[in-house]
């Protein structure tokens, strides 16, 4: 009986601890994904959508890639234009991918950019 209680206690403690490890790992992974996406978004918002890739100094994560593409934002109210002068509203789509090409996260940011930067 005593042995059974001891064994159950130990199993419960080990279970709690391993679930804590999993939860912390998951939280860290989620934070890292968001952090890498933010890093990519900040870089492309700063240097413009023309930048094809992000240098290693700004994205030191060799197992991941971040890419930026542009889209024309839709759903404009009638009579409202997406451009004024040489400026145009575009949507920057920033995607984070693993080395296997799987998309891990995506951010879409609307930005007014100069026509020459497109």
């Amino acid at each position: 009986m005593a042995l059974a209680i001891l064994a159950l206690g130990l199993i419960a403690a080990l279970g709690l601890c391993s679930s804590s490890v999993l939860r912390v790992d998951k939280a860290e992974k989620r934070w890292r994904t968001q952090h890498m996406l933010t890093q990519g978004a900040e870089y492309f918002l700063l240097s413009g959508p023309k930048s094809s890739s992000i240098p290693e100094d700004f994205f030191p994560y060799p197992d991941y890639q971040v890419n930026c593409s542009t889209e024309v934002p839709g759903d404009f109210p009638s009579g409202v234009s997406d451009r004024f002068g040489s400026w145009r509203l575009i949507t920057l789509c920033i995607e984070l991918r693993g080395n296997d090409g799987k998309t891990l996260g995506r951010i879409e940011v609307d930005k007014i950019v100069s026509g020459t930067d497109l």
């Binding site: 934070w31 700063l46 100069s114």
Partner: protein, 214 residues
């Protein structure tokens, strides 16, 4: 008269009991040691995550809300920018949420490495580069066990964005378009945070867009 015989443990029974006890203790100690290792791992990961979140909070609020700020220099008798952009230290002014009347809307911050710790020094009055003493203000330890920190500053050029690790006080505008901090821990971990200041870009600053001549 017959004396009742006492029932004692035999040597074999004793050896068996001791062996079982040793086995149980061995199992318990192994389980406890594995429990301790797991707990240590949880603690390390949790504290690292917490440290990164603290750094992110500070960089998000300070870098993003950095504003140009000048103050009269008594020696040169002219207003000078208070922005200090060194490879391992940065000091500037940023817009801050007003939580008490004494604080005001602008807070001054200096980020630097001291004794393997990344420190943030906050003050409600300007932290002047030409100040001789480093008194006053609040100090907060943002991260510890660091090997090094380094800063990069983005400057807007005609052909786009350029990067420098030393921001000159004569540069215009007197704050960079973005600041990147690289934090390297002694255990080999490395993180970078790039933040644009006040939404500036190569062709825009503080909401004003330069017309493109090309």
């Amino acid at each position: 008269m017959k004396i009742p015989r006492q029932k004692n443990f035999t040597l074999l029974e004793l050896i068996l009991a001791v062996a079982i006890f040793a086995l149980v203790m061995l199992t318990v100690s192994m389980a406890l040691s594995s429990l301790q290792q797991s707990w240590r791992k949880v603690q390390q990961h949790a504290s690292r995550l917490k440290e990164c979140q603290i750094l992110e909070r500070v960089f998000d609020s300070a870098f993003r809300n950095a504003v140009p700020f000048s103050w009269p220099s008594s020696e040169e008798k002219k207003e000078k920018s208070i922005f200090v952009g060194a490879p391992d230290k940065v000091s500037f002014a940023y817009m801050h949420r007003i939580s008490s009347a004494e604080e005001g809307g602008i807070r001054f911050i200096c980020l630097y490495l001291e004794n393997d710790k990344l420190l943030a020094r906050y003050r409600n009055t300007p932290i002047l580069p030409w100040e001789s003493s480093e008194d006053g203000g609040l100090r907060e330890v943002l991260a510890s066990d660091l090997a090094r920190i380094s800063f990069l500053y983005a400057e807007t050029r005609k052909d786009g964005i350029g990067w420098t690790d030393n921001w000159s006080e004569n540069q215009s505008p007197n704050i960079p378009a973005a600041i990147q901090i690289t934090v390297e821990w002694k255990n080999g971990n490395k993180e970078v945070w790039l933040r644009r200041t006040a939404g500036m870009g190569p062709r825009e600053s503080f909401g004003l867009r330069k017309e493109v001549s090309e």
